[in-house]
C-alpha cells in the first residue's frame, strides 16, 4: 500500500489539468445541449488556455503575477497533499491559502470590479468553509481516518450514513466551482453585472494560470465527492457522475443570488444538513461499538 500515494500525487500533477479541462469542456457541451444549441467543441477549454498563454500583455502591476502564480502553486499543492494522504487539517489550511492568494491578486489590481469580486470571494469562502470541515469530520466518523486512501479503502457506503452532509457538500461545491446560483465573484457567462469580477484586469497568461488552478481544484473536489461513494466501482462512477450532472443542472436552472442570501443559506445548510446529520450519526455510532 505504501508507495502508491506518491505515484498518484505525481499523476495528479501531470494529468490533473487534462482531467480538469475535459470536465470543463464536457460541462460547456452539456450546458449548450441543455439550452438547445450546438455549443463549443469538447476541447474548447484547451484552445482557450493555449491562446491565453500566447497572448502578450503587460501585467497591471508587479505584484499580480507572483500572487496568481502562488494561487496556482497552492492549488496544486492542496491536491498533492490530498492524494498523498496527508493530514486533512493541513489540506484545509493550504486550500484556504490558495483562495486567499487569488483574492489578494484581485485586490492588487485596484479595479473597482475586481475589488468587489474579491470581497464577494471572501464572503463565499466564509460561506463554504464550515460545510467542508463538517464533510471531512463526517468522513472521519465513517472511516476513522483523515487519510484519503484509508477512507477510500474502508468500503463503507458513506452516502448511506451521511446523506445530509453529501447534500450540503454539493451545495457548497456550487460555490467552489463558481457555478450559478453562487457565481457572485466571477462567471464564465456573458453579461454579469460585475464585468469579470474577480478576474477583471487579468489578461493572457495571468488568466491562463487562474484557469489552470481552477482545473486542478475541480479534480480534487470531485475526488472528495468520490469518497462518499467509494464502496464499489459502480457506486463510485454513478455517484460522481450524478453529482457532476446535478451541479450542471443547478447551474443552468438557477439565477444568481445576492451575497446576503448566499452567506446565510450556506450556514443554514451547514447547520441543518451538515450538523443535523453529524450529531445523530455520532450518537448512533457511539451506541453500537
Amino acid at each position: 500500500m505504501k508507495g502508491i500515494e506518491i505515484y498518484v500525487a505525481i499523476a495528479y500533477v501531470i494529468l490533473g489539468p487534462i482531467v480538469g479541462g475535459l470536465l470543463d469542456g464536457l460541462d460547456r457541451v452539456i450546458t449548450a445541449r441543455l439550452q438547445g444549441r450546438v455549443g463549443p467543441p469538447l476541447l474548447q477549454p484547451f484552445y482557450d488556455l493555449r491562446k491565453l498563454l500566447t497572448r502578450r500583455i503587460a501585467p497591471v502591476n508587479s505584484l499580480q503575477m507572483p500572487l496568481i502564480a502562488s494561487h496556482l502553486v497552492f492549488a496544486i499543492l492542496t491536491g498533492v497533499l490530498f492524494f498523498y494522504g496527508s493530514d486533512i487539517l493541513l489540506i484545509i489550511f493550504v486550500l484556504t491559502l490558495a483562495s486567499v492568494f487569488l483574492v489578494l491578486a484581485a485586490y492588487s489590481t485596484g479595479s473597482p470590479y475586481s475589488t468587489i469580486g474579491a470581497e464577494r470571494e471572501l464572503l463565499l469562502m466564509t460561506a463554504y468553509e464550515p460545510m467542508i470541515i463538517i464533510a471531512l469530520v463526517g468522513l472521519f466518523g465513517v472511516a476513522k481516518s483523515f487519510d484519503f486512501y484509508a477512507i477510500l479503502s474502508s468500503k463503507m457506503p458513506a452516502y448511506l450514513y451521511l446523506p445530509g452532509i453529501y447534500l450540503g457538500l454539493v451545495y457548497v461545491l456550487e460555490m467552489k466551482l463558481r457555478k450559478s446560483p453562487f457565481d457572485l465573484s466571477t462567471s464564465h457567462h456573458a453579461h454579469q453585472e460585475l464585468v469579470m469580477g474577480l478576474t477583471a484586469d487579468m489578461g493572457g497568461p495571468a488568466l491562463a494560470m487562474v484557469e489552470l488552478a481552477h482545473w486542478y481544484e475541480s479534480v480534487y473536489l470531485f475526488a472528495l465527492v468520490l469518497l462518499f461513494f467509494s464502496s464499489s466501482w459502480v457506486s463510485a462512477i454513478l455517484g460522481v457522475g450524478f453529482t457532476y450532472l446535478l451541479i450542471i443542472l443547478l447551474d443552468n436552472a438557477t439565477a444568481r443570488v445576492k451575497w446576503e442570501l448566499a452567506l446565510s443559506f450556506a450556514w443554514i445548510v451547514a447547520l441543518v444538513a451538515g450538523a443535523g446529520n453529524l450529531i445523530p450519526f455520532y450518537l448512533i455510532s457511539r451506541g453500537s461499538p
Partner: protein
C-alpha cells in the same frame, strides 16, 4: 499551430447606437444563433478580449473611450464595425456632435452591413475577424523572429565597435 482563431473572445462597445445593432449582437449569444460554437466568449474585459465589436457612430464624447478600450486590448486584435452608423455615421452623420464612423478613431478590420445588422451577418463578421487575427498573429510572429535576428546581430556589431 495558431489557436487564436479557435477561441476569439469578444468585447462589445456601444458608441452612440440606437440599440438596434446592440440587440442583434446580443441575439448572437442566444441559443438560436449560438456564437459559442465558434469558441466565442463575451468577456467585457478588454485585457481578455481579441475582437472588438463596435456599434453606432462615434461622437466627440465617446471617441476617447473607444480609443482607451482599443489600447487596452493585447496584440493581435481585430475591430468589427457593425451597422451603417459604425461605417459612416449612418443617419446621424450630419449631426453637429457626430465625428463619423468607427474608422475616424481606431483602425477597422471588418465592416458588417445593415441597419440594423442581422445576427447571421454579425457572426460572419466575427468569423472573418478571427481569420484576420490568425493572419495578424502569423505576421507578428514573423516580425518578432526578424527583430530577434536583428537584435542578435546588432549587439555583436556594437561590441565589435567598442574593442
Amino acid at each position: 499551430m495558431s489557436s487564436i482563431e479557435r477561441s476569439p473572445w469578444l468585447i462589445h462597445y456601444d458608441a452612440s447606437s440606437c440599440n438596434g445593432c446592440d440587440i442583434e449582437v446580443l441575439a448572437c449569444l442566444t441559443p438560436v444563433y449560438d456564437a459559442e460554437r465558434f469558441g466565442c466568449i463575451v468577456t467585457g474585459d478588454p485585457k481578455q478580449a481579441d475582437i472588438f465589436l463596435v456599434t453606432g457612430s462615434v461622437n466627440h464624447l465617446n471617441a476617447p473611450i473607444l480609443k482607451n478600450i482599443y489600447d487596452q486590448m493585447p496584440e493581435p486584435k481585430a475591430v468589427v464595425a457593425i451597422g451603417a452608423c459604425a461605417y459612416s455615421g449612418g443617419v446621424f452623420a450630419e449631426c453637429y456632435n457626430v465625428a463619423g464612423g468607427v474608422a475616424t478613431t481606431i483602425p477597422v478590420d471588418v465592416y458588417v452591413p445593415g441597419c440594423a445588422a442581422k445576427p447571421e451577418s454579425i457572426l460572419d463578421g466575427v468569423v472573418r475577424a478571427a481569420m484576420i487575427l490568425k493572419e495578424k498573429e502569423k505576421a507578428g510572429r514573423k516580425a518578432r523572429a526578424l527583430a530577434r535576428k536583428e537584435g542578435r546581430r546588432s549587439p555583436k556589431r556594437r561590441a565589435g565597435g567598442a574593442t
